[in-house]
Amino acid sequence: MTNSEKNRLKDKAFQVFGVFCTFIGLVVLAIFLIDILIEGFTRIDWEFLTNLPSRRASRAGILTAWVGTFWILILTSVIAFPLGISAGVYLEEYSKKNRLNSFLEVNIANLAGVPSIIYGLLGLEIFARVMGLGGSLLAGALTLSLLVLPIIIVTTREAIKAVPRSIRDASYALGASKWQTTWNQVLPASFGGILTGIILALSRAVGEAAPLIVIGALAYVPFVPTSPTDEFTVLPIQIFNWTSRPQADFLVNAAAAIIILLLITFILNGIAVYLRNKWQNKVKW
């Protein structure tokens, strides 16, 4: 075999390996989804969604878990969005290139890399202990808000960066102030991108269990939370609890709860992808 034939063979071999690697991830994903569906799908019925937790696997439901998850999502949104969007607007529209602002940027990048369980330790000490919120919904939502803040800030900045200079110049030329320009021109124009970031942040928050366990969220909550100061559980914690029990019936429950959790995650991500495509196609500068 000549050298060039050998090289061509190697080239082909790598191509095959490349296809193999690309599909291995997808195949694992498929096996995984099918396995969960087979194991858990038949367990899902109205009672599973509306029953309180129970020591008997066949009677246990996820009512408290999904209500807790929705509470957490709403409270986290209320706390994290205004804060994250304001910070993103400041860094992109207002800040000048100086020491403080470059430090802010490095700091936010660092926060994005802090493991979620460390946010749990922060929440345990500050929100649960010092502020006396205990293992309440409010303490959990505050902790998760800090966790998703860097995501919101980064995506807000990217969305604002995509708005062309000319829009701002036109607004200033008409006599608008900085804030009028930001509020009436820049924010509406970047709304799609910001919304995408917000939804991605929510889909991150919905799957988190570790920081909530650390602040003291319980697996067994026998009532539905009705106010932000109530104790709570969320779907991922319920799944973790059921998975760590030895009885097979609880594993079936876990699989069923996973289907619900994945459904929420995929719907959120689907909306994000849809919005991103819609805005990308609609806005052409």
């Binding site: 080239d11 790598f14 191509q15 390996f17 490349g18 296809v19 690697c21 690309t22 991830g25 997808l26 694992v28 995984f32 396995d35 969960i36 994250g84 304001s86 910070a87 400041y90 860094l91 800040s95 802010l104 490095v106 936010i108 990048a109 660092n110 926060l111 890399g113 802090v114 493991p115 979620s116 369980i117 460390i118 749990g120 330790l121 922060l122 500050i126 202990r129 803040l149 102030s177 804030w179 919905v206 799957g207 988190e208 269990a209 570790a210 366990i213 650390v214 991922p236 799944i239 973790f240 998975t243 594993l251 699989a255 996973i258 959790l261 994945l262 995650t265 995929f266 991500n269 992808v273």
Partner: protein, 291 residues
């Protein structure tokens, strides 16, 4: 008008500055509880003792077994994710048709959006039983299965960051390689990968940092037995799992056991902080600038 503008700017700046307070609060919380911890436990014991048994009658406070567990699951995850992720990045950039790339990328991203408890369930109930048919003496909780599943989880992280790095290399370099008669493989490994090496290294470091901090997956599938070993077939415990284990139990606030989670937490924080900043530094210093 002016006053209102000023107030708004002040409020916006305040929300940006809050991020600094978050970092300060993290460091303060970890440090203050750890300092009380180290006033009772010598830091030398903490770093050199080979046993971690704070919850037992005979207490040992050596962090090494937890670090070993974390290192083991991380190493297995990277051993899975690096070859596969990098190959995907090269394949999608140098071989695959644009249409294929456009369909496959978002599908792979799904792997990154699945909550980690779900991966834990998968490792425990599917991967471990499957591996036990090949390795009969594999324990029900082990680092191997948890690490492998974690590897699958971080494939999209390595593949998409590496792919960004490779596609940032200008076309002209690739065309020059083809012009010299190189095959696609020679172009990829002789020109594109070296040119994008800083970006690829950054992607791997960030993946390591992610794997080190991963919690629920290892808490479910890798076990809760701190053990100074590199044997992937036995139950181990990672730093993160230990924090979860203590949080689930009834440890009174202010006790020495309570403070151990902050000592474990600061160890974890030091690792991830160092890795993240190493990646920023590499990005800044070595990134090739093409214009």
């Amino acid at each position: 008008m002016r006053v209102q503008e000023r107030i708004i700017e002040g409020l916006l700046r305040l929300s940006a500055v809050i991020t600094i307070f978050i970092t300060a609060a993290i460091i303060w919380v970890l440090l203050s509880e750890s300092i009380s911890f180290f006033s009772e436990v010598s830091i030398i014991d903490f770093l050199t003792d080979k046993q971690w048994t704070p919850l037992f009658a005979e207490k040992h406070f050596g962090i090494l077994p937890l670090v070993a567990g974390t290192f083991l699951t991380t190493a297995i995850a990277i051993a899975v994710a690096l070859p596969i992720g990098l190959t995907i990045a090269i394949y999608l950039n140098e071989y695959a048709p644009a249409r294929f790339k456009k369909t496959v990328k978002p599908l792979l991203e799904i792997l990154a959006t699945i909550p980690t408890v779900v991966y834990g369930f998968f490792a425990l109930t599917v991967v471990t039983p499957f591996l036990q048919t090949i390795i009969p003496n594999l324990a029900g909780f082990n680092a191997l299965s948890a690490g492998m599943v974690m590897g699958v989880m971080i494939i999209p992280m390595i593949s998409s960051l590496s792919e960004d790095a490779i596609s940032a290399v200008p076309r002209s370099l690739r065309e020059a390689a083809y012009g010299m008669g190189s095959t696609r493989l020679q172009t990829a490994f002789g020109v594109m990968v070296p040119a994008a090496s800083s970006g690829i290294v950054v992607s791997v470091i960030l993946a390591i940092s992610r794997a080190v901090g991963e919690t629920m997956l290892v808490a479910i599938a890798a076990g809760q037995q701190p053990r100074l070993t590199l044997d992937p077939t036995v139950p181990i415990e990672t730093i993160t799992t230990y924090i979860v284990q203590v949080s689930l139990g009834d440890v009174p606030h202010g006790s020495l056991e309570y403070r151990t989670i902050f000592a474990a937490g600061i160890t974890l924080f030091v690792f991830t902080f160092a890795l993240n900043n190493l990646s920023f530094w590499i990005k800044k210093k070595y990134q090739e600038k093409y214009d």
